[in-house]
């Protein structure tokens, strides 16, 4: 486990290097520099500390925990905006050893902190994304006999939406694929419809396994 003051420095250096933040103030540098260098997470170059590759990793991880903590404090624990920043600085050191993942899942893999800054994605976010991608795919990719429910329509073309809606293709509607070629044929309720590829591409369906 890395000491809190070292983590504080790594986080600040990471924001400085990766997000163009300002260079950390002197007291933070003084407190954490020795530990960071001895752990080979930072090196001194021209009077300024720079993160090594491992340091970048560690810094990103601290930042992720900090911003997750902000979300947790504001969204779940309803801590007022005045205290969020301060408390998050303490929380980030606690959220370790998988607790951060649990918080991330609890919050539904948020992408931004309350100030609108990005939360670096963790392993759990990538896994969730993959699972979602596997589960929700457009109609044009599905094999005959696949069944599922319509998840969403990925189009801004109002005529397309109107056509699909007229066929009863709305989020939540049950759908079953009958053919892929030469046109896409599917069943909604007790009616069958045929559509061409441009329409089949915009219907995203949550498929049953």
């Amino acid at each position: 486990m890395i000491a809190p003051e070292v983590e504080e420095l790594l986080e600040n250096l990471y924001v400085h290097e990766a997000e163009n933040g300002r260079y950390p103030p002197r007291e933070i540098v003084e407190k954490g520099a020795q530990g960071a260098v001895s752990l080979k997470l930072a090196v001194l170059e021209e009077q300024k500390y720079k993160l090594t590759d491992a340091g970048m990793q560690a810094g990103q991880n601290v930042l992720r925990r900090h911003r997750l903590a902000e979300r947790l404090l504001q969204d779940v624990l309803a801590v007022g905006p005045g205290h969020v920043e301060e408390d998050a600085c303490l929380f980030e050191h606690v959220l370790q050893h998988g607790v951060d993942e649990k918080v991330c899942i609890l919050l539904g893999h948020p992408t931004n902190c309350p100030h609108g800054k990005p939360i670096p994605p963790g392993q759990c976010c990538k896994k969730a994304q993959d699972a979602l991608m596997k589960e929700v795919r457009p109609l044009c990719d599905a094999k005959p006999e696949s069944e599922g429910t319509v998840a969403y329509l990925s189009t801004k073309d109002t005529r397309q939406v109107q056509k699909l809606v007229a066929m009863g293709i709305l989020p939540g509607a049950g759908i079953k694929v009958i053919r892929q070629f030469p046109s896409y044929v599917f069943q909604v309720g007790y009616s069958q419809f045929a559509v061409d590829r441009p329409l089949a591409e915009v219907i995203y369906v949550r498929w049953k396994q």
Partner: protein, 670 residues
């Protein structure tokens, strides 16, 4: 089809005249509305005893039909409308029904739905109730729903919706009496309020303030329609005229900025949520639907490997054998040789000999191109059997539900020609009557597709009369028939490909409902064939007679001889004898006239196999008949028609010339 279409709120949009209301104050008006292919027309026939074309094909009713029913000794006007999915319409045909609902004073709105698809269709019922209209919900095709094991609790539905709910089977008449009994009791129900979400509700509130009270449509519905259709609000909708369009546009813009999709979409989703709640309480669906023989056959039809041989079988037995062999062969021979040549013509000639001393007038009736000896003879002896048999074959196909499956199979090919699968209907119908088919191009979504389909119909597709005569003409020359098919088919593909690149406009998009396969009902086939024949004869018999008169006048004045002489060099250039020029000229009056003219030449042994093939190719491609010309103009505008006509003349003779030269160079004798 238009056989019984009395009035038509034109798509361009003149409203029915308001004086009409004043005249029939006591006449109750009943409007049939609902999605395509739910049996509105079949129900209309049951209610009125009139016949409009009913088919197992979405979008067959393209105009309004009116009829009358007597209900407790009072006359009630029943109006059948083209299908519509929701109050805010997309296509021209849908707008016909929606506009009528929004502008006309209607006493009862019957919302006809396909009972098994209640889940998908009940949304419109809710919209109609919300609009404050006096609605009756008709659960049609109740037998199909029962067969599938779907149990609809009509009593519970009635309770929830607050309107009359009647189960019917329009094709057998089940429940129709009960439905008639409900007509006089229909009144607007108290709508349950559907929440459309914050931004939309706020916008409705804002727009509502700008609207005057209206005797028929609720303010909420009108506000909602304005929000959805700000671009396309029709001038005929009087209540929409008072609102400030710019203000409305700002409201809509503001609303849309807070929504993910269009207002229409979010409204539909909200309504569907309500529908699902209602369905849960009132409908019981079976756990799983076992796959019937019907479904397996349906899937079989959709396999490209099975579908194309099936198309071939349909073409071979339906068209070639039945229309070409039986209609154009057996029946024509009988009517032509036995009835006319033996009895009618000598009879007419004798009478005219006896009573008409002036040769000019004599020719008008009984001469070579006389009204009776040519005009009526062609109409009855040649066209009637061919068109009749075609319409029988087409009605059977249409009733079976095969055509939408063909559309689905052929969509990819048609896309290359700038069309979508839907165009299969006008194109196939064109083999019956190109004029009727050109009218049906209205069911295509974009102007571009309408033009491309109309041009292909004018250029390539032979109508059944022409096709029948051509089949008869080439009967003894199978190679000539093959050459004809090859050339005409190639021109079809080339012309389509060319236009797909040339004609500007939106790319075609294909979506179509595939109705269940049904066994064609003989009664229905007879009714449909009959109503199409009536339409056909109303339209064409006068033209046949007119054509005879024109030809007669042309000959008397010498104009025809002049035109024929100027055509002769062109005709000679493609290797045909002078006599063919007459056939081409007549071809403009009726396509089949031209082909039948060649038929006469062939009977006299004046044409070789090669010449027959060249003549048949050129004539097929040559100008459409006057009737088609007029409908084409109405649908696509004069400019398009004139350009097309010039191109058609050039293409027809050029292809004829190429064919003739090829045959000569290759030394083919067909």
């Amino acid at each position: 089809m238009p056989a019984s279409a009395i009035s038509r709120t034109s798509i361009g949009g003149k409203p029915l005249k308001t004086e009409q209301h004043k005249k029939d104050v006591s006449l109750r008006k009943v409007l049939l509305v609902g999605s395509p292919n739910v049996g509105k027309s079949a129900l209309f026939n049951r209610l009125t005893g009139r016949y409009v074309t009913v088919s197992n094909y979405p979008g067959t009713t393209i105009e309004l039909s009116k009829g009358y029913a007597e209900i407790t000794h009072r006359k009630v006007e029943i109006i059948d409308t083209p299908g519509m999915y929701s109050l805010s319409a997309i296509t021209d045909e849908e707008k016909v029904a929606a506009d009528l609902l929004l502008t006309e004073q209607v006493d009862v709105v019957m919302h006809v739905i396909d009972a098994k698809n209640i889940e998908r269709m009940l949304g419109l019922t809710l919209q109609l109730i919300e609009a404050g209209l006096p609605v009756i919900l008709v659960l049609n095709m109740a037998d199909e729903a029962r067969r599938l094991g779907i149990k609809i609790d009509a009593g519970r539905l009635k309770q929830i919706l607050g309107i009359a709910v009647v189960e019917t089977v329009a094709t057998t008449g089940e429940g129709v009496k009960k439905l008639i009994g409900r007509i006089s009791h229909a009144k607007p129900a108290e709508p349950s309020r559907i929440y459309y979400g914050g931004p939309i509700e706020k916008s409705i509130a804002v727009v509502t303030q700008q609207l005057q009270p209206h005797e028929k449509l609720s303010t909420r519905t009108r506000a909602l329609l304005l929000l959805q259709q700000v671009q396309t609000i029709n001038d005929t909708i009087d209540w929409a005229q008072t609102i400030d369009k710019d203000y409305l546009r700002r409201v809509v813009h503001n609303c849309l900025s807070q929504l993910e999709h269009s207002v229409h979409y979010h409204v539909t989703v909200a309504i569907q949520g309500e529908v699902n709640r209602i369905i849960k309480e009132s409908v019981l669906f079976p756990d799983s639907s076992s796959r019937h023989f019907r479904e397996r056959l349906s899937r079989f039809c959709m396999q490209p490997l099975a579908g194309l041989p099936m198309l071939f079988l349909v073409m071979y037995f339906g068209i070639y054998k039945f229309v070409g062999g039986f209609g154009a062969g057996t029946v024509v021979d009988f009517l032509e040789a036995t009835v006319f040549e033996t009895y009618v013509n000598p009879f007419v000639v004798n009478i005219c000999d006896a009573i008409i001393p002036w040769p000019a007038i004599y020719d008008l009736f009984a001469g070579e191109y006389g009204v009776i000896t040519l005009g009526i003879r062609y109409a009855i002896a040649i066209v009637l059997p061919i068109v009749g048999t075609f319409f029988i074959a087409f009605s059977i196909l249409e009733d079976s539900g095969y055509l939408p499956r063909l559309a689905m199979l052929i969509d990819r090919v048609f896309k290359k020609l700038g069309l979508n699968g839907r165009a299969v209907i006008p194109i196939v119908l064109g083999f019956g009557c190109d004029t009727m088919a050109t009218m049906v191009t209205r069911t295509l979504e974009t102007k571009r597709e309408k033009i491309i389909a109309s041009v292909l119909l004018a250029l390539v597709i032979p109508c059944s009369a022409q096709f029948g005569v051509i089949l008869g003409l080439l009967a003894g020359h199978p190679y000539a028939l093959m050459a004809w098919a090859l050339f005409v088919g190639t021109v079809f593909v080339l012309a389509g490909t060319f236009m797909a690149r040339l004609v500007p406009g939106e790319k075609p998009s294909f979506y179509m409902e595939l109705p269940p396969l049904r066994f064609p009902r003989p009664g229905n086939v007879v009714v449909k064939t009959y109503s199409r024949m009536v339409w056909y004869f109303k339209e064409i018999l006068p033209l046949f007679i007119l054509a005879s008169i024109l030809i007669w006048a042309g000959q008397i004045t010498g104009l025809f001889q002049f035109l024929v002489r100027s055509l002769e060099p062109v005709v000679n250039a493609i290797g045909l004898p002078d006599g063919a020029a007459v056939a081409f000229l007549f071809g403009f009056f009726r396509r089949d006239y031209g082909a039948a003219g060649l038929y006469d030449l062939q009977k006299d042994g004046l044409l070789s196999g090669n010449q027959l093939a060249v003549a048949a190719i050129t004539l097929t491609l040559f100008l459409p008949c006057i009737a088609q010309f007029l409908v084409f103009k109405k649908e696509c505008g004069l400019k398009v028609v004139l350009i097309t006509s010039v191109c058609i003349c050039i293409v027809a003779f050029t292809v004829g010339f190429i064919a003739n030269s090829l045959f000569n160079i290759m030394g083919l004798v067909l």
